[in-house]
């Protein structure tokens, strides 16, 4: 059950991965300074994620484990555990959304479209059976 609840939390985690953008930024953004700026944002996003998971693994998991183990735990006890992590999740979602807009604003509409069309095409290839 704990894994299930954790999966649920992670699905709601609102996390974003920007690493997949990196190779295409270099390909479609011709300006070295903007590429460097975007790569900085990608690194910041990865750092945000790493810090979040470090905190979750260190603090939240132990609280969840203890609450689950206790036969007398109530729904309110679980609610307290989840409230803390939900707040952190919301904060992370907003921060990563900020990063997305920072990156977008460093590209032109044409560059942004080219990057995402290429990513979508690659994803479609990878999702084919046996792909």
């Amino acid at each position: 059950m704990l894994i299930a609840m954790t999966i649920l939390f992670l699905h709601g985690g609102g996390s974003f991965s920007f690493d997949n953008l990196k190779p295409y930024v270099k390909e479609f953004v011709p300006d070295a300074e903007r590429v460097a700026a975007i790569e900085t944002v990608i690194k910041q996003a990865n750092d945000d994620l790493a810090a979040f998971f470090k905190r979750i693994n260190k603090e939240w998991s132990d609280q969840l484990v203890e609450t689950n183990l206790n036969y007398a735990s109530t729904r309110e006890d679980f609610g307290k555990v989840f409230a803390v992590v939900d707040a952190q999740r919301d904060e992370l979602q907003q921060r990563l959304l900020d990063r997305r807009f920072e990156m977008k604003d460093l590209t032109t509409p044409e560059e942004w479209q080219a990057i995402h069309e290429t990513i979508a095409a690659e994803r479609a290839r990878n999702e084919k059976p046996g792909g």
């Binding site: 059950m1 704990l2 894994i3 299930a4 609840m5 954790t6 999966i7 649920l8 939390f9 992670l10 699905h11 709601g12 985690g13 609102g14 996390s15 974003f16 991965s17 920007f18 997949n20 953008l21 994620l49 790493a50 998971f53 693994n57 998991s61 969840l64 484990v65 689950n68 183990l69 036969y71 729904r75 679980f78 989840f82 939900d86 999740r89 919301d90 979602q93 990563l96 959304l97 997305r100 807009f101 977008k104 509409p109 942004w112 479209q113 995402h116 069309e117 990513i119 979508a120 994803r123 990878n126 999702e127 084919k128 059976p129 792909g131």
Partner: protein, 151 residues
């Protein structure tokens, strides 16, 4: 690399690419290996066959709910991907998409908690200690090597 896999699990909520594996399991195969472990441990721990059967039914329900979550989550990630790819998407569209999904996730979590409490109520404190302890160890193992939900 293991941390990377954890990222992948959550990164499916990505703004750009859902990096899920597309491999599929057969209908009779367990969606999650750890659920099989949970079933196996339950039959070891709970001595009453009737109670064990009731708990196993609840674990079946847990599995169904997770598979359903996976379907809903994939749809959500696809929507986020579309929003991301559109240069003109404003922030409110993202906020709305995430808020709706977060509300849905919280409702699903409440239903999972229901299952947890039903299993606990079927168990004696000693049985629950063994089940929960095993559950906790599964969590720790899973955190070291999380698997992506696969429909």
């Amino acid at each position: 690399m293991k941390r990377y896999r954890l990222y992948i699990l959550v990164a499916v909520l990505t703004l750009s690419v859902a990096a899920c594996s597309s491999s599929k399991k057969g209908v009779n195969e367990p969606a999650y290996d750890w659920i099989e472990d949970l079933r196996s441990n339950t039959t070891d721990v709970v001595k009453s066959p009737d109670k064990a059967a009731s708990i196993l039914e609840l674990i079946d329900d847990l599995e169904i709910k997770l598979l359903d979550l996976d379907r809903v989550a994939r749809k959500h990630y696809a929507s986020l991907g579309e929003l991301t790819a559109d240069y003109a998407t404003d922030r409110s569209a993202f906020d709305r998409q995430m808020r709706d999904f977060n509300v849905d996730i919280q409702a699903r979590r409440a239903r999972l908690l229901d299952i947890r409490f039903q299993i606990k109520d079927l168990s004696t404190p000693e049985e629950w200690a063994a089940i929960a302890d095993f559950d906790n160890s599964l969590l720790k193992t899973w955190q070291r090597n999380p698997s992506i939900p696969k429909p």
